[in-house]
């Protein structure tokens, strides 16, 4: 584990050295974003530098950045107004759902994607269902899943629906895109079907798989509010956002939104780091 941490540290230092300009641009972009947010809020509130302007009612819907930052830290040290749970408890509940939904999506989407990518018959059988269900927003499934499957697994399955299709489609695309010349070459060298699969198809598909995983995790977090809106046992960040919005505690609502953003960055970042380690280990980079 310590080697991994050392490696991560080295990677960060190296990235800073090599990508200094890009880092500065990213920081500048974030500063601009916060400034625009502050100005928009000041404009709505009629505060400096827009003192002459009368505040509008919708100002309450866009609190100042520092109000949200305060609410964010406060949410970890004070329980929420409804459940006596702290933000840490909500994060834990949501992470459990994301992890479980991801695990379910991974074990089902990867084999199905490989199958669809390498077998035209399988694709013909599975593609209509995939295309039929893919565009349905997870929110539409909420009443069905929470009632039919229950309050523990219902939210997990909603997250699963969000992660499943990006992984499935990416893996299918990867498996379909394998250069036939590589397969012919392997066959010429005497490789059997299993060896072709493990030595050619799987390595070729891995970058697509990892792209699908990263996109899927992001979408999984996008589904968390819908997943936890109703009947979420143990709360969750999505439940927290929905609940605070219902009572117009918008400072807390934004704090929940910031938390989801940070969790998404964290989990997608971990997936990206693992991706790099995987490529290195496989010798493809």
């Amino acid at each position: 584990m310590s080697n991994w941490i050392r490696s991560l540290n080295n990677s960060v230092v190296k990235a800073v050295r090599q990508n200094g300009l890009y880092l500065i641009l990213s920081v500048a972009s974030f500063v601009v974003f916060i400034t625009v947010w502050w100005l928009a809020s000041a404009w709505l509130h009629g505060d400096w530098p827009f003192e002459g302007r009368s505040p509008v009612i919708t100002a309450e819907y866009l609190p100042y950045p520092w109000v949200v930052v305060h609410a964010f830290f406060d949410s970890f040290t004070h329980p929420d107004p409804f459940s006596d749970l702290y933000m840490g408890d909500h994060v834990y509940s949501s992470m459990k759902r994301i992890a479980s939904g991801f695990a379910l999506a991974f074990v089902t989407a990867v084999p199905l994607g490989l199958l669809m990518g390498r077998s035209r018959k399988a694709e013909a059988v599975l593609n209509p269902e995939a295309e039929l269900f893919r565009p349905i927003p997870p929110l539409a499934w909420v009443p069905i899943f929470t009632i039919a499957i229950g309050f523990v697994w219902g939210p997990i399955v909603i997250v699963f629906m969000g992660i499943f299709f990006p992984v499935l489609l990416s893996v299918r695309l990867g498996a379909k895109s394998v250069d036939p010349l590589l397969i012919d070459a392997a066959r010429t060298l005497g490789a059997n079907r299993l060896q072709i699969f493990t030595k050619v198809v799987l390595p070729y598909t891995t970058p697509y798989l990892m792209t699908g995983v990263k996109v899927g995790i992001g979408i999984g977090w996008m589904c968390i509010v819908a997943a936890e809106m109703l009947g979420a046992v143990g709360g969750g960040v999505g439940w927290y956002i929905w609940g605070t919005a219902q009572v117009a505690r918008y400072d807390l609502m934004y704090a929940g939104m910031v938390t989801i953003g940070l969790l998404s960055i964290l989990t997608t970042g971990v997936a990206g780091f693992l991706e790099q380690r995987l490529y290195k280990w496989m010798g493809t980079k």
């Binding site: 919708t58 107004p81 991801f102 009443p143 979420a232 009572v247 117009a248």
Partner: protein
């Protein structure tokens, strides 16, 4: 390379299985029994409560009518306590008006006329409900069936537990003050929010937020032969299938008076559903008020209070719509006969900002029990 791939796939499968196992184990740990006198709640939309009760996902629920009678009539649940046993004459739904509407051109006159129609509709309903063999009663039941999408038996049973009224007496104001104090106590709103809206206390807030002027002036409103706002209809907000808000259904119906006109039309009003109506809950309706999409609306008192204090939504409560009409239901055959039986059980509520959540909390606190989210 070959071995590495096989190992990597193997490790991935093990990780995935471990994650599922961990989730299952953690889930089981979360279900451990607590013997400290706690009742657990989760949030479920009222329309889904009966189904959740029948599947055993919840042990009971608290909701408004007709979702209470829905389970009782269907044999899925039995009543544990009606809300009047928890808090007699407790306020529930109210009529709120947008301050920008009531303060705008013709706003006071149009609001008074609206309230007059609301009063007439309430009187008509109470009269119909007290004569269950009358044609008016049949018409009311028919309208309620259409509005709630529930059958006749459910609707008739539900009517027995709702008190329709428009007056805002001392008890009404006192209850709203208690609710506000409870919201401050639980941090759903704060004294700072109260002060920032210009109120010195919960009592001062209720005094100013509840405006009885329109009820006073509505009595002298005369019918109008012409529609006074033909091109600018009053945009009406109300909740989906909420039987507590039947007054607006009655006031819009053109069969009630037998003149071909609705009660709103009788007083010269053109009414249209606000964009977004019927709303899923009071919070959504208050967002409609904030967005300037709702002029007058029926909703629960708590979301009106909380959204006004926390987000400054410019509304005022101008009439009551109903009191009581909620109840705690437990699964039929569960053996639960009193609140003690709810300890360690899971009870669904429409959400922490609902009046039903407050009533459940009040009932349990009285017995010395805590209400906590199901974990």
């Amino acid at each position: 390379m070959d071995k590495k791939i096989v190992i990597s796939v193997g490790v991935a499968v093990i990780v995935v299985i471990a994650a599922i196992a961990a989730a299952l184990i953690l889930g089981e740990q979360d279900d451990k029994v607590d013997k400290t006198g706690t009742v657990y709640y989760i949030t479920v939309p009222p329309k889904d409560m009966r189904a959740s009760l029948s599947t055993g996902d919840i042990d009971g629920y608290i909701s408004w009518e007709p979702y209470v009678s829905d389970s009782i009539v269907g044999g899925v649940g039995v009543i544990l306590e009606w809300s009047d046993e928890i808090m007699p004459n407790h306020p529930c739904c109210v009529v709120a008006v947008s301050n920008s509407f009531s303060g705008g051109p013709n706003g006071p006159d149009l609001t008074s006329r609206f309230i007059r129609a609301h009063m007439d509709a309430t009187v008509w309903m109470n009269n119909a409900l007290s004569h269950t063999s009358s044609a008016d009663y049949d018409l009311l039941v028919s309208m309620a069936m259409d509005f709630t999408q529930r059958n006749e038996t459910v609707v008739k049973a539900a009517f027995d537990h709702i008190e329709y009224g428009y007056e805002m007496n001392t008890g009404f104001r006192s209850a709203l003050e208690d609710f506000t104090d409870m919201y401050i106590e639980t941090n759903m709103t704060t004294n700072e929010s109260l002060a920032s809206r210009g109120y010195s206390s919960a009592s001062d807030f209720v005094t100013k937020y509840v405006n009885g002027t329109y009820l006073s002036t509505a009595g002298s409103v005369s019918p109008s032969d012409t529609i006074l706002n033909p091109s600018n209809p009053i945009r009406l907000g109300y909740l989906l299938g909420d039987l507590h808000q039947m007054a607006q259904v009655v006031a819009q119906n053109t069969s009630v008076l037998g003149t071909g006109k609705s009660m709103f039309q009788k007083y010269g009003l053109n009414i249209a559903d606000a964009t977004g109506a019927p709303f899923a809950n009071g919070g959504a309706e208050m967002n409609g008020f904030a967005a300037g999409a709702v002029d007058i609306g029926y909703l629960g008192a708590p979301p009106a209070i909380l959204n006004h204090l926390n987000a400054g939504v410019g509304t005022t409560i101008v009439a009551q719509a109903n009191s009581e009409g909620s109840g705690i239901v437990v699964a039929a055959g569960s053996g639960i006969v009193n609140l003690d039986g709810l300890v360690n059980k899971t009870i669904a509520t429409p959400g922490p900002s609902s009046i039903q959540f407050l009533l459940l909390k009040i009932a349990l606190q009285r017995e010395g029990y805590d209400l906590k989210i199901k974990t």
